[in-house]
């Protein structure tokens, strides 16, 4: 028998791995999100005591599902919905009894796609979709999600409860969208996964510049969707992009966990297995010739991964890819990155001109990477005072302490140079 601490770890692991699939199956049966979550939570608690006494069952996931279904029967007996649910419950208890005859797929059909499409429905606010996806498919606790987004557990619980209520009351369907709507709906799902990843990767709040749990979770979610929709090139593109981004995780921080920009990263610290997996997946996907924004971003990231050093980077090709990306997705954010690539492929002066048109965009006034980029270009063009001004603004807008310290170092260097210039020519 396993020692208690080991058992708890094992249970936690089983729960994390299978939570989404079991919950999806329960929601699919009962069409009641709260009921499904409650009975699964009860089953997990029962597992804690039962498994401690009897040891781990052969198929822990099936045990949890069966136990959750029994609890659903108990709960429904107490209310009027029982008669409504009875046929479905009977069918499932029969299937559970004859599981060897009917095969696992019948008692345990994979409904995770239906689940994620419901969580990421456009009728649900995106921030709520993020939380709901992490709770239902990812199996994170409400408290964990609240911590990740610097929210009160109570507030987060209310947000989740409202969303589940809306799904039920407004009749948000539990189904994979038809061909006609798939692309649009899928892009909402991918946006949510990418948002989860970025939250972990750039950690706009808090002390640590990488919250590995969220980036890992986003990769796990992308893998699930990719396995279930292998023909959708943008899903594979997103997974490749996340793997390639994440390969640089340990290179982005130095020993004192300070943020290191791509230019100064020690490339030997990059995770080669992740680079290989991301690059291989991208090659197969690009060959299908259904290009999209995630594939393009992955291709840009792959070019960085392939370069032996910053100087060896194929800036001409990266610049061309950004040009293409901007034509597909003309956003200010893409333009900022495009300008930076252009500055290396061509020159900082014309790159600076590309940013000038953006400066009038009001959304840029609070966009820290815009000021960081422009500060860098101003500096490289020799406009020290303009660079100083932009770095001060960037520091002001940054919410991340390690990023702030990086920006402060650059600002300090410029201020040193400015004072040297003044000191060097006292007569002026």
């Amino acid at each position: 028998m396993l020692p208690p601490f080991k058992l708890e770890q094992t249970i936690a692991q089983v729960v994390r791995e299978d939570w989404g699939r079991i919950l999806a199956s329960l929601v699919s049966s009962y069409k009641d999100w709260q009921l499904a979550e409650d009975v699964l939570q009860d089953a997990v608690e029962q597992a804690m005591t039962s498994w401690k006494e009897d040891g781990l069952p052969d198929a822990p996931a099936a045990w949890l599902l069966t136990t959750a279904r029994r609890k659903a029967i108990d709960k429904c007996r107490k209310n009027a919905r029982f008669s409504e649910l009875l046929p479905e419950l009977t069918r499932h208890s029969l299937l559970i009894q004859h599981s060897e005859d009917v095969g696992m797929e019948n008692i345990f059909p994979d409904k995770r796609l239906e689940l994620i499409f419901a969580c990421c429905h456009p009728a649900i606010d995106q921030k709520t979709s993020v939380a709901l996806t992490l709770r239902t498919l990812g199996g994170l606790s409400t408290e964990e999600i609240a911590n990740a987004f610097i929210d009160q557990t109570k507030t987060m619980a209310q947000r989740l409860a409202r969303a589940k209520n809306k799904i039920t009351k407004a009749g948000i369907p539990f189904e994979v969208p038809d061909e006609q709507n798939l692309e649009e709906r899928l892009s909402a799902v991918l946006a949510v996964i990418y948002l989860i990843f970025n939250e972990g990767y750039s950690a706009s709040y808090g002390e640590s510049s990488t919250r590995a749990d969220l980036t890992d979770e986003a990769i796990r979610l992308a893998r699930i969707v990719q396995q279930l929709l292998p023909q959708q090139t943008e899903v594979s593109g997103l997974l490749a992009l996340l793997l390639l981004h994440d390969s640089r995780r340990s290179g982005r921080q130095d020993k004192s966990s300070d943020f290191i920009s791509l230019e100064f990263q020690n490339r030997s610290r990059w995770d080669k297995a992740k680079i290989r997996e991301g690059t291989n997946l991208l090659k197969i996907t690009l060959a299908k010739q259904k290009l999209g924004v995630y594939q393009l971003q992955a291709a840009i990231s792959a070019l960085h991964s392939e370069a032996a050093s910053w100087e060896d980077t194929d800036w001409a090709q990266i610049n061309a890819l950004y040009e293409l990306l901007y034509s597909m997705h003309p956003s200010a954010v893409v333009r900022v990155n495009h300008a930076m690539a252009h500055s290396y492929a061509q020159n900082p002066t014309s790159a600076l001109a590309m940013l000038e048109t953006l400066a009038e965009d009001t959304s840029m006034q609070r966009y820290q990477p815009f000021y960081t980029a422009r500060a860098d270009l101003q500096y490289r063009c020799g406009h020290l005072e303009a660079a100083q001004k932009d770095f001060i603004r960037a520091i002001d807008l940054s919410k991340n302490s390690v990023q702030q310290s990086y920006l402060r170092d650059r600002l300090a260097l410029i201020e040193q140079q400015l004072s040297d210039l003044q000191g060097g020519s006292p007569n002026n």
Partner: protein, 117 residues
Amino acid sequence: MQYMCLIYSAEEAGPQPGTPEYGPFMQGYQAFTNEMQQSGKMVHGDALQPISTATTVTLENGKREVTDGPFAETKETLGGYYLLECETLDDAIEQAAKIPSAKHGRIEIRPVVVWDN
């Protein structure tokens, strides 16, 4: 499920009576109503008189207070509604997007409460 599709638009937006665009616009409504009836989704639908005809009533300490005008002054006002029977929200969204005023206004979709006895 029944969905109430509330049609909101600014009264000066979209085709106005007496303009050449108004005829085809109203024909669009007729076509939509026919489509909903034929597909069995139509429960009910009405157009409302302009907001200038609105009256608001409330009880203040048991005393009736009647005011001329709408409850809240907003640019976009409720101009009419369709009550539709749809399988899911996705179906309701798809139908509501065909309402001619969706082009210059907005359709708010609200599920109707089913009372448990």
